[in-house]
């Protein structure tokens, strides 16, 4: 009977094949599911966000702006701070969902620029003069003082001010 023959074949399948498949799947290069964030919290990662948002500037982690700000930014990508950053609609929707799901919990804030948010100004009030210095250039150069910015880490203990001073 065909059914029982098929069953026999299935039983004869070498036991190591599933293990091999799992090993092969694990070997496929993939972005890490999450990277360490401030204070050891996990910062969510998303390959499309990292690639598309990280081309022209640091891929700013979702937690830096509230959901409302991310929605407005994603709705105006064709004129994104004087540059065209437009995306294919499906890809934009996926990135927006990631940003909104992991956004800052701050209902009163709606700034489009991270530097325009209250928390950013408070955190940087002592060092704002450094932004336009030769070593930094502008406030978008997070990595000048936050060496792990590309990994989404802005931990206070990891800050290195230009000139080698630890903060």
């Amino acid at each position: 009977m065909p059914a029982s023959r098929s069953h026999e074949r299935a039983k004869a399948r070498p036991a190591w094949i599933p293990g091999l498949l799992i090993a092969a799947a694990l070997a496929i290069p993939a972005a890490p599911a999450a990277v360490l964030a401030d204070g050891g919290r996990r910062s969510p990662d998303d390959p499309a966000w990292r690639e598309e948002c990280g081309s022209c500037h640091v891929a700013y982690p979702p937690r830096l702006l509230p959901a409302q700000s991310w929605r407005r930014i994603m709705a105006t990508l064709d004129r994104h701070f004087d540059a065209d950053a437009s995306l294919e609609p499906g890809r934009a929707r996926g990135i927006e969902a990631f940003l909104v799901a992991n956004a800052r919990q701050a209902s009163s804030e709606s700034a489009l620029r991270i530097t325009g948010t209250g928390w950013f100004r408070r955190e940087h009030d002592e060092v704002a003069g450094l932004f336009s210095s030769a070593a930094v250039g502008n406030a978008a150069n997070c990595g000048a003082c936050h060496p792990q910015a590309e990994q989404g880490r802005f931990n206070e203990h990891e800050i290195r001010l230009p000139g080698g001073n630890k903060r």
């Binding site: 498949l21 799947a25 022209c56 500037h57 437009s86 250039g137 978008a140 150069n141």
Partner: protein
Amino acid sequence: MNKILALLAAALALGGLPALAADPLADITVAANAVPGFAGFSAERGARFFRTPGGSWSCSTCHSDDPRRAGRHAVTGKPIEPMAPAVNPRRLTDPARVEKWFRRNCKDVLSRECTAQEKGDVITYLRSMGR
């Protein structure tokens, strides 16, 4: 089981061999051919276009005057890898990627999309560069 193995092999092949993707210049050539008077692409014209400002920017503003070297984003200062395939072989290998960046950057520089002639000239120029 064989189906799964075949799918896995296909996934590995697709992920590991991007060089097999179509040539970004192919569709651009088809579009250029449709324009009356098209007489081929020119590396020399591409080189001029690359350095000619539309408004305040040219391609070279962010991509460096020498595309074999790294550039720097004019606003954010983020380093941009070299555009010349001779020194950065991943450049100009993915048609969708090439179209996406031409669409965006031409609007930033020229306030319009680039023509097929302009795109083909620039690709021809970048590919003509040695190391």
